[in-house]
């Protein structure tokens, strides 16, 4: 008598079981990551200390986690919106760059009085991010041009345009580095409380707006149809093209805002490489969160923790920063695999032969 296991396709699974499975897979991913770090030379006993105690229970580190998290939340939400419309927006970085360029343009040309400067910068950042997403979405809707290619290629155009500005017209005349002049104090995202950046409450508000958009507005219902059954959506009268357009432009605007958060919240100026890694992280966060805005906010916090802990590992143990990306990848693989258990059920059968 041999025991065997049979696989069956599940029809439906309660959301709390799904959440439990995903949480389990994340824990497994963290365990695997921990093992890799131990092999790389971090003492096993120090892991918990480095990742949890020193990052989350140390006021200053927690600040930097939150600080790091807000642009990640923005790109994560941007990913959620576009992916829900079945639009593979790989151009988050390009949209982010243009968002930051738009905001910096306001500072360079001194538009508006100091009192309204920051709101203007935010509006410009969102508008420019949105504009950078228009071409690919229209090409997709009108001519069926694959958005994976168009958004990705537009990133390169954005990156080179940024370099063109940083080494040319917008270079800080005071020194030789490729960045813009420092923003004025009223052009920076203000701090409140004990050194917490204003970008954190902004990120939370935006997350709630996206949650409303997806769950409470009529667009959310349309998005569900576009996401799950595009064919049916068209037949039963969902305005498919308009829904996709709206979601993608919203996505671009949020990516633009992420650009502003880095420029006006962290760097205090436009630099030539501020965007690096955010596009990938945005996709990854949206994926980890299954395009759910609340989960995306949590995933962004997790990734931010990794970033911050990764930096201190770099300093104390000479662990290369690439290790952080490796951990991200391990987490994604674990969560992706967990999907299998959500879709299937494993049952033990008694073997006959």
């Amino acid at each position: 008598m041999n025991r065997r296991y049979a696989l069956e396709v599940r029809q439906q699974m309660a959301w709390y079981w799904q959440a439990l499975i995903i949480a389990g897979s994340l824990i497994l991913g963290l365990l695997v990551s921990g093992t890799i770090l131990v092999v790389a030379g971090v003492p096993a006993g120090e892991l918990l200390n480095e990742f949890v105690i020193l990052t989350l229970f140390d006021a200053q580190s927690l600040q930097s986690v939150l600080f790091q998290a807000s642009p990640l939340i923005m790109v994560g939400l941007a990913g959620c919106l576009a992916f829900r419309a079945k639009f593979w927006n790989l151009g988050l970085e390009g949209q982010m760059i243009f968002g930051a360029i738009g905001a910096t343009a306001i500072t360079m040309w001194d538009i508006g009085s100091p009192a309204i400067r920051l709101p203007l910068m935010m509006a410009a950042a969102m508008a420019c991010g949105l504009l950078w997403a228009i071409a690919p979405v229209l090409l997709r809707l009108k001519l069926q041009v694959n958005e994976i290619v168009s958004t990705l290629m537009l990133n390169y155009i954005a990156i080179n345009f940024l370099l063109h500005l940083m080494y040319g017209a917008w270079k800080d005349p005071k020194d030789a580095f490729p960045y813009s002049p420092k923003y004025e104090s009223f052009e920076l995202l203000p701090e409140f409380g004990d050194g917490l950046s204003m970008s954190i409450p902004i990120a939370i508000v935006i997350a709630l707006v996206v949650l409303w958009f997806i769950n409470i507005s009529r667009a959310g219902l349309y998005l569900r149809f576009v996401d799950k059954s595009p064919q049916v959506a068209r037949s039963v009268g969902v305005p498919v093209a308009k829904t996709i357009l709206l979601a993608v432009l919203f996505s671009g605007a949020l990516a633009g805002l992420a650009g502003l958060m880095v420029a006006a919240g962290q760097e205090g100026r436009l630099t030539h490489s501020f965007y690096v890694g955010y596009g990938f992280s945005g996709i990854l966060i949206a994926f980890l969160a299954r395009n759910n805005p609340i989960a995306a906010t949590c995933a962004a916090l997790l990734i931010a923790t990794l970033f911050v802990a990764g930096r201190s590992l770099q300093v104390f143990y000479q662990i290369p920063f690439a290790m952080v990306q490796l951990i991200q990848a391990v987490l994604v693989i674990c969560v992706a695999s967990s999907d299998f258990f959500i879709r299937h059920r494993i049952r033990r059968v008694q073997g006959g032969e």
Binding site: I216, R218, S229, S235, G237, G352
Partner: protein
């Protein structure tokens, strides 16, 4: 040997996420017989046969093949034991040829030799087998170039070439015209005469009476009785399938005076190279059911799509008198006028399977503002309306309005579509094969809705490949052939004459 049991199932149970699909079902089929498995939608026929085919593992009970106890670990093992199942939804790779599909299935048997050589051998086998059983199939034809009936023959060849001696056909006649069904069932009867066991899963009484040697009746997951079809009356069979109450009768519609013209279609023609629609004209009056009969594939689907606003490249007029051209209306406008659409492909054009019943229902009234402005969806109002409609239209199997629509059985899914489309009294009803795949009770419920709409003054267009349905429902009948209406009949119509018109113009 010949009278040994081919299949025996004892006390089999199966649960899907808490729903008992099968409870303590028994079933026995002998070699050399056509054994029908009769029951309403959701009675558990397909589940039972999926267990025999190794697709599902049973939770209790035992399975014997050729009187030997077996535990199937999967469909491959079932195939090795000579069990072949032709599913209701074909499992063919559409861009591949017939021979490639069959070779794909035979992978484990014909594993030696170069690919081209193996393909050539399979093509020969296909030709030989097709000739033996009287099918005409070109092994090099691509699946997407074949009609539904031809694809079904490919499926049958596929399981026969894999060595099946126990042939299970799941609702094989649901997609076929009368002649095609007759031909198919005569062929499978031939297999049984040669000693194979054929199991015919069906809900069509006619198939059972004419072709089955034995019939097992299933109701709500249980096998009720096994009898010889000629030993009981039709009434008795109906009573066993539907239970004590609720046998439907469909009387021929009386002659009635039609209202004024409402929908005028003129010169409707497909713009593509294939003229599926070729200058179709028809006039639909208020207060009548206009039935479109015809052999499948004569432009019915294209006509339905064009009228229902499902993307379809056509030119010509579809004027709704007093409103304008139907093709220029968006969904909101169609809803506000009162155009109800019941497409043939339920999960391809009417319901989003992965979404909830409430979400699917909401689409019906979303444009009118009843469920709130654009920025706010009144979920409570949707759920209240959906609950009311589910009750009123007798949609069963709804455990929660948040349940996926895909979990509904065919009949209940169709009732959900109708509950949405008829939530406001419709003025124009477009129905394409509305009772396809539905059991007696559900069919009757659907037909009653269409008749009630007609009696309330709506113009009803019924496109159906089932002539019985058209005959039972329509006040006027148009016969469609090669993309146009070639003949029109008023009730009482001569069935013979309609049949003639259907085939003569091909």
């Amino acid at each position: 040997m010949s009278k040994q049991n081919a299949i025996q199932l004892n006390g089999v149970s199966k649960t899907f996420d808490g729903f008992k699909a099968l409870s303590d079902a028994d079933f026995t089929a002998r070699w050399g017989e056509v054994h029908a498995l009769l029951g309403e939608n959701g009675a558990g026929k397909s589940s039972l046969m999926n267990i025999v085919a190794g697709l599902y593992g049973p939770e209790g009970g035992s399975l014997f093949i050729n009187d030997n106890p077996v535990k199937l670990k999967g469909p491959k093992e079932a195939a090795k034991l000579g069990i072949g199942m032709v599913h209701q939804h074909f499992k063919l790779v559409t861009p591949f040829t017939v021979a490639e599909n069959i070779l794909l299935n035979l992978g484990h048997i014909q594993s030696s030799g170069l690919y081209r050589e193996r393909l050539r051998r399979v093509s020969e086998d296909i030709r030989a087998m097709a000739k033996r059983i009287g099918f005409e199939i070109d092994p090099d034809a691509r699946i997407d170039q074949l009609s539904i009936a031809e694809q079904q023959r490919v499926e049958i060849l596929k399981v026969l070439l894999a060595g099946a001696r126990i042939l299970i056909l799941d609702e094989p006649t649901a997609v076929l015209t009368e002649e095609e069904a007759e031909r198919l069932l005569t062929t499978v009867q031939g297999f049984a005469r040669e000693g194979a066991a054929v199991i015919l899963v069906t809900h069509k009484m006619n198939d059972v009476l004419r072709y089955a040697d034995q019939v097992t009746i299933m109701r709500s997951g249980q096998t009720v009785k096994t009898v010889k079809p000629d030993s009981v009356s039709v009434d008795e069979l109906v009573r066993l399938t539907v239970g004590e109450s609720g046998t439907g009768t469909s009387d021929q519609p009386a002659e009635r005076t039609p209202g004024e013209a409402y929908l005028q279609v003129k010169g409707l023609t497909s713009t593509g190279s294939h003229r599926a629609l070729n200058g179709l004209d028809l006039t639909l009056n208020k207060g009548e059911i206009y039935g479109i009969a015809g052999v499948g594939g004569n432009g019915q689907s294209e006509l339905a799509n064009a009228l229902m606003g499902i993307p379809e490249a056509v030119e010509g007029q579809m004027e709704l008198i007093g409103e304008g051209d139907l093709s220029e209306f968006d969904a909101a406008r169609r809803r506000s006028i009162g155009v109800a659409a019941i497409p043939a492909d339920r999960y391809g054009a009417a319901l989003a399977g992965p979404l909830s019943i409430a979400d699917n229902f909401a689409l019906g009234d979303i444009h009118s503002g009843r469920y709130g402005p654009f920025w706010y969806l009144k979920t409570r109002a949707i759920e209240a309306d959906a609950a009311e409609a589910v009750k009123q239209f007798d949609v069963q199997g709804v455990r929660s309005l948040k349940q996926k629509a895909a979990l509904l059985s065919g009949g209940n899914a169709q009732k959900l579509v109708i509950s949405r489309e008829f939530n406001h009294p419709p003025k124009l009803v477009l129905a394409h094969s509305p009772s396809r795949g539905l059991d007696v009770k559900a069919t009757e419920a659907v037909r009653d809705r269409l008749r009630a709409a007609r009696d309330d003054g709506a113009a009803v267009l019924l496109i159906s490949e089932d002539l019985d349905e058209v005959m039972a429902m329509a006040d006027r009948i148009g016969v469609m052939s090669a993309g146009r209406i070639v003949a029109e009949f008023s009730q009482p119509a001569d069935r013979q004459a309609i049949g003639q018109a259907m085939v003569n113009h091909v």
